[in-house]
Structure formats: structure tokens, C-alpha cells
């Protein structure tokens, strides 16, 4: 993901801003890291450059 994507993302639970932590870059792409809610502290992983912003209770739900 591009870092500028952060401006249009929010925590899916409480809609507060997210902060990027532990970022690893490939050029201007963030390929690894964690997005952390500035309010509730929930952590959302960036997997293969794709932020996974599913609410925690949906994250493990993966048919087939």
C-alpha cells in the first residue's frame, strides 16, 4: 500500500485514525507493517502490501 492510503482509512470499529508502525518499504510501497488505531489500540496487519482492515472477529473467518 502507499502511505497516502492512510488518509482515507480508519479503524473499522470506532472510525478513528490509524498509525503506521513497523513499516517495511519497497520503494514507496509499504509491504509490511501494522496499522494501529489511535483510539482503541486495535492492530491491523499489512499482508503482502495489502492492509487487512477486517474487524478482528471477521479476520479468522476464511472459508476454503
Amino acid at each position: 500500500m502507499k502511505e497516502s492510503l492512510l488518509e482515507i482509512l480508519c479503524c473499522p470499529l470506532d472510525k478513528h485514525d490509524l498509525e503506521l508502525e513497523d513499516a517495511e518499504y519497497d520503494g514507496d510501497e509499504v509491504v509490511d507493517g501494522v496499522l494501529v488505531c489511535t483510539e482503541c489500540g486495535e492492530r491491523y496487519p499489512i499482508e503482502d502490501g495489502i492492509p487487512n482492515l477486517l474487524p478482528p472477529d471477521m479476520r479468522e473467518e476464511s472459508p476454503a
Binding site: M1, E7, I8, C10, K15, Y44, I50, P51, S62, P63
Partner: protein
């Protein structure tokens, strides 16, 4: 004939079909048009508009909109296989449940080709393709929560392009959208042997 027979199912990700093409063409046309009453407000703003495609699947619609209009397109899906396919097309992708992780007022347009096929609960199967196709018993199990939540992420003057099918009861979708404060206009339709597809433009 069940859903598996109606669609050519063989992967974890819904591949572009007639509905995808109709939505892509319509969104491109509407975004490119400078004649619409609402686009007047945006005249001169050039290509700094941002568009979200919910449930992007393979990324086909999002790619066409990005390529043909030059707006910034964000592609989201619940399905991890889908967001990977979409990212391989060079799209900015987010794994998301509908519009829940997007900021207030972030988008000038939101496009959605939802799972809309009415499905007998006894006939449901639990895999990603079912999630991509099935809209529950009335076909609106995903459309309704989308209509309830999409308003928050629209910028002033923002619009929704929602693909609906005659199988889903277009009037019921329009009524539900009305309850959420949207006016609806059918901006494209196309008939096929077992359904008519319509693209609704929802605006406030």
C-alpha cells in the same frame, strides 16, 4: 439448476461477467461525463476524485475505471484471494468489510456489484464463491447493510453506483435506499435470458 450451474465457477475469485462489464462501462461514462448536473460542482477539479469499488473481486471494474477515467481508485474485498488478484493488476487494495474501514467523506463515488442472487438457505455452500454470489434468501442480505453504511464515506455531492438484478427486486432496493436518504436513478440496464441488470445511481 443451482447457483453453481448458473455461473461458471472454478476459482476462489469471481471473474468478470456481464454484470461487471455493465457496471464498468456505466461508471466510466458517468465519471467522464461533464454534463450531469452534479458534475458541475466538480468542474475544474480534474482527476483528483477518489472512487471506491467495494467487492472488487478480480479487480476488473476498478481497473477499467482507473484506466479510462484517470481518477484514483481504491479496490476493496472481503476475500483475501480477490485483493491479491486486484493488487496484481496494480490497484490500491484494502481487505475490508463493505465500507467499514474508510474515512468519513473519503469518496466522490462508490461502486458496488454486490452478491445478489437469492439463495435457498439449504442450498448455500460455504466458500468464497458463495460469498461472492449469494445475497441470502431475498438477494439483499449484503445490499441492505451496504445501503445503511455507505453514506458516511461519501464526500459532498458523492454518488453510489449499485448494480442490481431483477432477481433481487430493484424496487425493493430503491425503497431501501430511500429509507437511507438516497434518491435513485436507473442509469443503465441490460436484459439477459434470466435477469435484467440495472445500474442505480444513488445520490442525496
Amino acid at each position: 439448476m443451482d447457483l453453481r450451474d448458473r455461473r461458471d465457477i472454478g476459482t476462489d475469485v469471481y471473474q468478470p461477467a456481464e454484470d461487471s462489464q455493465l457496471l464498468a462501462e456505466t461508471v466510466c461514462d458517468r465519471l467522464s461525463s461533464d454534463d450531469g448536473d452534479r458534475s458541475d460542482e466538480r468542474r475544474g477539479t480534474g482527476d483528483d476524485r477518489t472512487v471506491l469499488e467495494v467487492g472488487t473481486g478480480s479487480g476488473y471494474v476498478a481497473s477499467r475505471v482507473a484506466d479510462e477515467t484517470g481518477v484514483r481508485v481504491i479496490a476493496s474485498d472481503l476475500n483475501p484471494h480477490a485483493v491479491r488478484q486486484a493488487r496484481e493488476k496494480g490497484l490500491e487494495t484494502v481487505r475490508a468489510d463493505l465500507v467499514s474501514p474508510f474515512a468519513d467523506g473519503a469518496f466522490d463515488a462508490v461502486a458496488f456489484n454486490p452478491p445478489y442472487l437469492p439463495t435457498d438457505p439449504d442450498n448455500e455452500w460455504d466458500d468464497w464463491m458463495e460469498r461472492a454470489l449469494s445475497g441470502g434468501e431475498d438477494g439483499r442480505a449484503i445490499i441492505d447493510p451496504f445501503l445503511e453504511s455507505v453514506d458516511r464515506v461519501l464526500a459532498p455531492g458523492g454518488v453510489v453506483y449499485l448494480l442490481v438484478s431483477s432477481l433481487t427486486d430493484v424496487d425493493a432496493v430503491v425503497e431501501r435506499a430511500g429509507e437511507e436518504g438516497f434518491s435513485a436513478a436507473a442509469v443503465a440496464d441490460e436484459s439477459f435470458p434470466f435477469e435484467t441488470l440495472t445500474v442505480l445511481e444513488l445520490f442525496r
